[in-house]
Symmetry: C2
Subunit: 182 residues, 2 copies
């Protein structure tokens, strides 16, 4: 079963396909720009994005949005994570967290699915901590500074671990289970 | 002449009225929520917002959007200034700028006007520097850390100065001149 995934990020498609394998679901990247609303919840962004792309292409599609929510920064950068990463990167986040004791953070992912029957949302979340320095070269975005609960390595140091426990993995498993009718 | 100004920020209405006085233009705050798109230009946000509110209320209206663009941070926080301020405040910006020599920044403001004839945009800009600490109690947002070119005080220390030279003042003067047919 092939699913169209509207994104400009090939890393996300690779992670989706890792999750889809056991369900026989394959994700195919399509590039359709959609305006992202300034919502603070990834669910709202994913839902709106999927509605928009479906409206434009008239075919079933998913859109995914991810946010890193840092407790000591009131949830910053949240649903604006990609924008903030483009501007100040993981180094900017480390600078903001310099001397901050509470390192708690979570990644949240939401998939918006839209077909002729309407829209559905699938979410995933992983708790963890902001590391004191960047470590590792795999993955993308904030992976080098995020250590999930119960682990000692960052997502960027251990991509296999990321692909087992991540926010995105969880959201895609829920979606695949549902779409494959498993 | 009365102009409807869709905003949740009474400070902006006060600044608009300062600018409007000499043109006989008075701004009246209306509260209509509009979804802000994730554009990086304040012009796009103001334009979309004005279109949306006009569509909802069927009466001529302005929407204003402002961004602080810091050179050393690749234009961060830009059109996301309000969100970033809610999350990490001026203190977060000062932390990001700690030890950074290039303090150059600019404020940009855009007004979107929408009536039955379509949409028009009016922009204003002021260059300056990010101060090394917060100073002053007036104004709002990033006013305590912004010193405009040629001045020694922050916008928050000298509100009368802000009202003469600010990005918003310039945008509103252009708008008032045009709308009053002066």
């Amino acid at each position: 079963m092939k699913i169209r995934f509207a994104t400009s990020n090939p890393h996300k498609v690779a992670e989706a396909n890792e999750a889809g394998r056991e369900f026989g679901v394959e994700f195919e990247q399509i590039r359709v720009d959609y305006p992202e609303i300034r919502a603070e919840d990834v669910e709202d962004v994913a839902k709106d994005g999927a509605q928009y792309v479906f409206g434009k292409t008239k075919s079933a599609v998913i859109v995914e949005d991810t946010g890193l929510y840092i407790e000591a920064l009131n949830g910053f950068p949240g649903a604006f994570s990609a924008f903030v990463h483009r501007k100040i990167g993981s180094d900017g986040i480390l600078k903001l967290m310099d001397g901050v004791e509470n390192r708690a953070a979570k990644f949240r992912s939401a998939i918006g699915w839209r077909d002729e029957n309407g829209v559905k949302i699938f979410s995933g979340e992983v708790e963890g901590e902001i590391n004191s320095e960047k470590r590792g070269k795999e993955g993308f975005g904030y992976d080098p500074i995020f250590v999930p609960k119960g682990q000692k390595k960052t997502f960027a140091e251990d991509f296999r671990m990321k692909n087992k426990v991540s926010h995105r993995r969880q959201a895609f498993e829920k979606f695949c289970k549902w779409v494959a009718g498993a």
